[in-house]
């Protein structure tokens, strides 16, 4: 990404047909901590990494209940997430009032997509800077949906968003075939392992930094925090973590010897100068 003259406004197209503000808004999701969503034939679960809470204030929740059958996990701007959550709660309430039935998850997500699209096409507005993982259970079974600041939404078998979520997605892709037939405990184990892969080796999942949300048939959406998470964490206790791929730089590190060995090392060769234009973004 590189600053250019077409990125000041969301209503401006670049000559390549890109709206840079939308792409920048997508980056905001990566500023939030990671969360993972996955589903089996019977359950849809969310597992989220919480930031360290302040001792002076109530800590922010990462998994927010929307209705009895659906909840979301957020990554990105907290205030934007709150606004979308309130909207979703409103829509679910209206559906229960009008039809006496829970709102189907696909319809709810579609409404979020339509609402999110408006500020991507208005002068003076900005896209929502938050990504959601929506987990729920309705008449069609368990669902996991992902929404983006670009107003796109995706029906997922499993997904991870937030900081360093690529490691979690890699894990989910590797084990995708087994999720459908998993029990709740097995599904939770996979989710916790995927989330753990987003953490550096010095940090581990604990009951303080982890939240779990569970959706299933005929039961209210359950959000577990603190001690309630411990039984699930115990399921993966003692397991070896996946090794993190070594950074490319370490492999190519050259010993820098400054002890008066002038002339013994070659001058570094910078890359060829790049023309600074739209082509840089490709």
């Amino acid at each position: 990404m590189f600053r250019n003259q077409y990125d000041n406004d969301v209503t401006v197209w670049s000559p390549q047909g890109r709206i840079h503000q939308l792409e920048y808004a997508m980056e905001a999701v990566k500023q939030g901590s990671a969360c993972v969503g996955l589903k089996s034939k019977t359950h849809a679960i969310l597992i989220a990494l919480k930031r360290a809470p302040s001792e002076l204030s109530a800590h922010q929740k990462k998994i927010l209940p929307i209705d009895d059958h659906v909840a979301v996990s957020i990554a990105g701007l907290t205030a934007d997430a709150r606004l979308l959550c309130n909207f979703m709660r409103n829509e679910c309430l209206n559906s229960r009032w009008a039809y006496n039935k829970p709102l189907p998850i696909s319809r709810l997500v579609s409404m979020v997509g339509s609402k999110s699209q408006i500020p991507t096409q208005r002068y003076g507005r900005r896209p929502f800077g938050v990504g959601l993982l929506v987990a729920g259970y309705d008449a069609l079974g368990p669902h996991i949906y992902q929404t983006c600041p670009s107003a796109n939404y995706y029906d997922c078998k499993a997904m991870a968003i937030g900081a360093r979520s690529q490691s979690a997605r890699t894990y989910l892709e590797k084990h995708l075939d087994v999720f459908l037939d998993c029990s709740l405990e097995e599904l939770a184990k996979h989710g916790l392992r995927a989330l753990r892969d987003t953490l550096p080796s010095e940090v581990d999942l604990t009951s303080k930094n982890c939240s779990i949300g569970i959706a299933c048939k005929d039961k209210k959406f359950a959000i577990l925090d603190d001690e309630d998470v411990s039984p699930y964490l115990a399921l993966i206790e003692g397991e070896e973590r996946s090794s993190r791929p070594q950074a490319e730089e370490a492999g190519q590190a050259m010993e820098a010897d400054d002890a008066g060995t002038a002339g013994s090392s070659t001058d570094p060769v910078p890359a060829d100068p790049q023309v600074v234009d739209e082509g840089m973004d490709q």
């Binding site: 500023q31 010095e202 002038a262």
Partner: protein, 275 residues
């Protein structure tokens, strides 16, 4: 704006509400000229020198939270004493003395190794504006004898401003890039910062000074994705510990893991904009 009847009406901006700020004229200036203040003991030592400059053989400059955390955990291993500070601002969260009350205070202190007084570490985690950076760098070179020293500057930057052919979402962050002065003959431990990327602000001003004065200096920039301080971003500087002469003035820290966790928690608590 012209109306249908040909009147000209003023048009208010749709984008921004320009509130009148009546307090502007009465606001106290926050920024001041940079001042370097030595401790009492250091002042007494400098009185005895001919050029009033602190002798230095190794100088490590840390700018920003990640670099500060790295030097705190991995470089300042032997007994270090606080000998000076550079002050640039009168804001509420800026410390104006040589004793910081809170670990999250915005400070810029100079530390000296007890066992080897020619090793200096400067940790700066306050923002130095562009118009102050020249005087800031001038203060440093006027008060510390760096002409024969090995100088390493550590800082961090966002990948948002990093230009490459690879899309930023595909970059393997964090990663290190380096720039060096002409007098620095050795090769840095990572790739040189590719064009058209460039440094700005205080790090750039320092390197310009060192280049003009023909000092031996290298700067390592950690490009990171996260706004928040992250353990991996701090550990991106680890390869520098294998470099002479830094490897001769540091040793492995057995408490590194716990210190890393403590520092992350300290800063994570105050960052609630993104969740």
């Amino acid at each position: 704006m012209a109306t249908f009847f040909g009147e000209i009406l003023p048009v208010t901006s749709r984008a921004v509400d320009l509130d009148e700020d009546e307090d502007d004229e009465e606001a106290l200036p926050i920024q001041c000229e940079p001042i370097l203040h030595w401790s009492k003991r250091m002042r007494a030592e400098l009185e005895k020198t001919s050029d009033k400059k602190v002798p230095c053989s190794n100088f490590v400059m840390a700018i920003g939270l990640e670099a500060n955390a790295f030097t705190e955990i991995y470089v300042k291993q032997f007994n270090y004493e606080r000998v000076g500070g550079i002050f640039t601002s009168l804001g509420d969260e800026d410390q104006l003395t040589l004793s910081n009350a809170s670990p999250t205070d915005k400070t810029c202190y100079i530390w000296r190794c007890h066992s080897n007084p020619s090793i200096l570490v400067c940790q700066c985690n306050r923002h130095v504006s562009a118009d102050q950076s020249f005087q800031w760098a001038q203060l440093l070179v006027d008060n510390i004898e760096l002409s024969t020293a090995y100088i390493a500057v550590l800082t961090a930057s966002d990948t948002g401003g990093y230009c490459s052919e690879v899309p930023s979402s595909d970059l393997d962050t964090p990663f290190l890039r380096a720039l060096k002065t002409e007098k620095f003959m050795a090769s840095p431990v990572c790739k040189i910062l590719e064009q058209p990327n460039m440094l700005t602000g205080l790090p750039a001003q320092l390197m310009s000074f060192f280049q003009v004065l023909r000092y031996k200096a290298v700067i390592y920039v950690c490009f990171k994705e996260n706004k928040y301080v992250d353990i991996l971003d701090v550990k991106a500087f680890m390869s520098i510990l294998n470099v002479t002469p830094i490897k001769d003035i540091t040793e492995p820290n057995k408490n590194a893991e716990q210190m890393l966790r403590d520092i992350m928690e300290l800063h994570a608590v105050n960052d609630t904009l993104y969740m």
